[in-house]
Amino acid sequence: MIAPRLDREAIAMRVARELPDGAYVNLGIGIPTLVSQFVPEGRTVVYQAENGVLNYGPLAQREEELDVDLINAGGQFLLPVPGMAFFDSAQAFAMIRGGHVDVAVLGALQVSQTGDLANWMLPERGIGNIGGAMDLAAGARRIIVAMEHTDPHGRPKVVRECTYPLTGRACVSLVVTDVAVLEVTPRGLLLKEVAPGWTTEAVQKITEPRLLLAPDLKEMEL
C-alpha cells in the first residue's frame, strides 16, 4: 500500500496521452511544461502561449541560443521553428477566451469535487499572481490539471470545496496526479485510474471528497 508516487515526468507522460492529434494546447507552468516531451509518436500537438506565439517547439538549451524576444509564457526560451506565428497579448487571449485552445494543462493548489480550480494564490502570502490562469480556466475547451495529489504538508489537494482563492468555477475536466486520474462528472469525482501499486482505498484516504469508482477502473498506463 505504500507504493511509490509517480514523479513529475510520469504525471506529464500520463497527461500527454490525453492530447488528441491536431490539438491546440496551452501548457501552464510547473508540471505542465514537461508534457510536450511525452506526446506519443505520430501525434501532432500545436502549442499556444499567451504571450503571443503559436506553434512553438523545443526549448532553447545552449547559452548562445537564448533570445529574449523568443520566450513562452513561463519565461522559457524557445527555438524558432517553421510555421511559428507571433501576435499580441489581446489576440493571444482572444484565442483563449474565444474557445480556440482545445486543451489547457494547468497546475493547481486545490481542485474541488465540482471542478473548481484554485491555483494562483497561497492565502498566507496575501498577494499573488493571476497571470493568464483565469482566462485559460474560463476559455480553454478542456482543462486538465496536473499536480501532486497532496500538498507539501501532506494535506489533500483534491477537496470538497476550495479554501484557497479560486481561479475558476467548475472548469476542470480531468485531474492527473501522482497517484490517480480523476474525471469531474456531474455526479462527482470519478476515479478512473490508480498509479501502479495503489489501491482505490489508498487514493481515497488522501482525497477529501468521496470518490466514485469507474466501472472500468484500471492502473495508470504511461
Binding site: 523568443l70 497579448s89 499572481n129 493568464g132
Partner: protein, 233 residues
C-alpha cells in the same frame, strides 16, 4: 511639413510626463519588449505618483539571458516614483524573494489593482478601440469579480469590465519609419502592440528608424496613427 515623429533623445521623449501620470508599458518578463531606455530616462526625469499599467510590477531576472542587464519598471518602484500598479503578475513567483513592489505594497507605499492577464489586455484594447466596457467570462465566481456587475448571456455568467486608457504608453519595438509605423520582434510584441492604441501619447523606443516604404505594408503591426514619438536606442 512631411510627417516626422522622431525625437532626438530619450530625455526629450519623456520630458513632459507630469506627476500623477498613468503610463502603460510592456513587461511580460525580462528585457524582451521592455522600453528600457524610456524607463531609465523617466527615472532621471523624476515624475512621481505614477500609475503603471503593465503585466508585471517589475520582475528582476525573469526572461533574462545574462547577456545584458534586465532593466524594467521595477526601478521606478525602487526610486519611489510609483503610487499604483495595475497588473496581472505583480510579484515574484517565489515568496522568499520579494520584489521592490511587493515590499512597497506590504508597507502601504504602493497600491495594486490585480487583473487577469487576458482581461488586462482586453481592457487596454477596449480603451484604444472606443469600447467603454465589455463582458468577459474570465474571473466569474472569483475574487476579481467581487463588486462588479455580473450578467448571464446564453446561460453562462460574465463580468462587466471597463476600458483602461493612459496618458502615455512606452513601447519597445524593433523598427519604426518616421510616420510611426512599427514592427516588433518575436514574443516582444505582446502587450506593446495593444498598449500603442490606448494612450494619449504613445512613445516607441526602437532599434532602427527606416524610411517610409522600407517596412512591408502587409507586416506593419502598429500603424503610425497610434504613435506620437519615436526614439532610437
Amino acid at each position: 511639413m512631411p510627417l516626422n515623429k522622431v525625437v532626438s533623445s530619450f530625455a526629450e521623449a519623456v520630458a513632459d510626463v507630469p506627476d500623477g501620470a498613468v503610463i502603460m508599458m510592456d513587461g511580460f518578463g525580462g528585457p524582451g519588449g521592455m522600453p528600457q531606455q524610456l524607463i531609465l530616462a523617466l527615472r532621471t526625469q523624476g515624475a512621481k505618483n505614477l500609475t503603471i499599467i503593465s503585466n508585471t510590477a517589475g520582475l528582476p531576472g525573469f526572461g533574462a539571458t545574462g547577456k545584458e542587464p534586465a532593466i524594467n519598471h521595477g526601478i521606478l518602484v525602487e526610486s519611489g516614483q510609483v503610487r499604483k500598479v495595475i497588473a496581472s503578475f505583480p510579484v515574484s513567483p517565489s515568496p522568499s524573494r520579494p520584489t521592490a513592489f511587493e515590499l512597497a505594497y506590504r508597507e502601504g507605499r504602493a497600491e495594486l489593482e490585480l487583473v487577469p492577464q487576458g482581461t488586462l489586455a482586453e481592457r487596454i484594447r477596449a480603451g484604444g478601440a472606443g469600447i467603454p466596457a465589455f463582458y468577459t467570462p474570465t474571473g466569474v465566481g472569483t475574487s476579481v469579480a467581487r463588486g462588479k456587475e455580473t450578467r448571464v448571456f446564453d446561460g453562462r455568467g460574465y463580468v462587466l469590465e471597463h476600458a483602461l486608457k493612459a496618458d502615455y504608453a512606452f513601447l519597445r519595438a524593433l523598427k519604426a519609419d518616421r510616420l510611426g509605423n512599427l514592427v516588433y520582434r518575436g514574443t516582444s510584441r505582446n502587450f506593446n502592440a495593444v498598449m500603442a492604441t490606448a494612450a494619449r501619447i504613445t512613445i516607441a523606443e526602437v532599434d532602427e528608424i527606416v524610411e517610409p516604404g522600407e517596412l512591408d505594408p502587409e507586416a506593419i503591426v502598429t500603424p503610425g496613427i497610434y504613435v506620437k514619438r519615436i526614439v532610437k536606442r
